[in-house]
Chain length 347, copies 2
């Protein structure tokens, strides 16, 4: 048992195509026994990536049984929860059931409850049963097994937060951590899709860093979510605008910034076709941070060129050192924000 050692990046579980890493692979082996440098998890709950869950719900006409079937089909076909349309996944929580002798455990023990901090698009996953689908927040209770590779970051779940709340926050913990790096005091920051998970966390960080002299502008389509942001008091301006309408977004940001536009725009929307809104909201020399996985590379690259906009555009890397701690601490430090996460995600 546990004799074989796998590749730290998991290529040993790629079935097709040959030579690629698990993320872009079409199919993973989620059946073979644990390798010596892997960790086995009894999966309890999936958090389906928001862009993926929107797409699945629409394809299934919001029928929960069809959603279940579609998720099972994807996992069975691919050996992982990798939505073929959006290309995105999500993450999971579960309990450690076996630790390979060469897995870099860093104190992890069998029985610990963990969240994987890597995308489901590269996590070998075997599902036995879907117990419940929460159609509002994309959290799915399941019975199943997953494997963690040696290179994959994970977090032991804290005791002081409900697991469903930790799961929701950790799914998007790359966003606030990157915003903390990018935003400088006095910056004008626009957050698109500001009322969602990553949007609220990004706003909270921008509000802390950009501070009094800066300007934090929240743009969100959902009027109820706008009201939540206003009550939290973590933005100077909150506007209900459709992020799919580039000229409307540009016009609004122009008005709110006296024509100066944003130094940094953070895109946290969960629907497609928002690349140009982000670009046009941003000043020449400014930065667009695309966290949304619904972003299309060419639409951003060629769209900026077409508008003659000299903006730096960054792809939202889900990993930043310390991102999980930063995000959970943000919730602890801001009780009103934590309350919103409890209301929406507590199981």
């Amino acid at each position: 048992m546990q004799q074989r050692k796998g590749d730290p990046f998991g290529t040993h579980r790629v079935i097709e195509p040959e030579g690629v890493l698990p993320q872009p692979a079409l199919r993973l082996d989620s059946v073979s026994p644990l390798y010596a440098n892997e960790c086995l998890i009894d999966v309890e709950r999936l958090n389906i990536d928001s862009a993926s869950f929107v797409q699945i719900k629409e394809a299934c006409e919001h029928d929960v049984d069809r959603v279940k079937e579609m998720i099972i089909k994807i996992i069975t076909d691919r050996g992982k929860m990798h939505n073929p349309v959006t290309g995105s996944g999500g993450m999971l929580i579960g309990r450690v059931s076996q630790i390979g002798i060469e897995f870099p455990a860093n104190g992890l023990q069998v029985g610990d409850q963990v969240a994987t901090l890597v995308s489901l698009t590269l996590t070998p996953l075997l599902v036995e049963e879907i117990q419940h689908v929460n159609m509002n927040n994309g959290q799915i209770s399941i019975k199943g097994k997953a494997m963690l590779f040696a290179s994959c970051p994970f977090a032991i779940l804290p005791d002081d937060l409900p697991e469903s709340v930790s799961l929701a926050a950790l799914d998007v913990c790359g966003a606030p951590a990157q915003v903390a790096r990018l935003v400088k005091p006095d910056d004008t920051v626009v957050v698109l899709g500001a009322g969602g998970k990553s949007g609220l966390l990004s706003l909270a960080v921008a509000w802390q860093v950009a501070g009094e002299q800066g300007k934090v502008i929240a743009i969100e389509s959902n009027p109820a979510a706008c009201e939540v942001i206003r009550e939290l008091g973590i933005a100077h301006e909150v506007q209900s605008v459709n992020a799919k309408q580039p000229l409307a977004v540009k016009g609004m940001v122009e008005v709110l910034t006296a024509g100066e536009l944003a130094d940094i725009t953070v895109n946290c929307v969960n629907v497609p076709d928002t690349e140009l809104s982000s670009i046009l909201a941003t000043r020449d020399g400014g930065t667009v941070y695309y966290f949304s996985t619904a972003v299309k590379f060419t639409a951003a690259a060629l769209g900026a060129e077409g508008a003659g906009k000299d903006v730096q555009m960054m792809i939202g890397n889900g990993y930043t050192p310390g991102h999980a701690e930063l995000t959970l601490q943000l919730l602890r430090d801001q009780p009103a924000l934590k309350d919103i996460f409890y209301q929406r995600y507590q199981a």
Copy 2:
């Protein structure tokens, strides 16, 4: 005539879907008469984007007549040369035949030969006839008409370079201009797809900036193109490695940098599935510059996360102020590099 004024970004020519800008649009109106703030061009030659041309050639099994048909079909269906599979376009040259009275002409005159510095994916285009397809370099001689919007950058072609050479270089002029901004003295720079148009121009800039103490590493699949790079003497190391194989690329860069990896990796490949190679070639804290339009957003975002790599990833904006001048000057300053462009692209 010329009474109506259009939107500077060209939304007045979008047929569907409503409310979007011309780049992501499914179909543009390339038939209506010129608006007062547009410029009409008699098109002479298209330079099909390399990722798009590879895809079209493969889909047509390298049959030139089928390639012609497919290009005409795309332009006719969409009112622009916007490859639906790769999402990319290319650019064009032609002569100015009419200048709207409100077009920001900046000295441009009827009869001038210009290159559009915006993607064909957002340029309204009407094709009458395809005269010749160069299957080697993706340049297409055509008779047709195109419109430039007020926001679209363009360049008057210089007298001292053949138009086909200017066209080839200007198609990718965003790459060397961005590399000039990103690379610092002493950096270790890896260029993937280093033997192509954007690869050679990027190498040349990296070689100038990273200088003696830096290290410039060229990675390219084509051995003949590797030989060209060696003869040009614009890289410290030149290696023939397939950029689709992340572990091979990582291993090679590790060996060449004594395990330090690249400060900056520039991706200039024209085929898909090279996101992870770029990420794994780069050190933690380093930057990946994705110029290739074959890059998939989610493969990059989720791939970096999956590998636990803290790299900054940038989307190649085709526009940078001064990019056209910088690129043409690079060719003038480096006669050996200019010779390569003459050999490959002179009509």
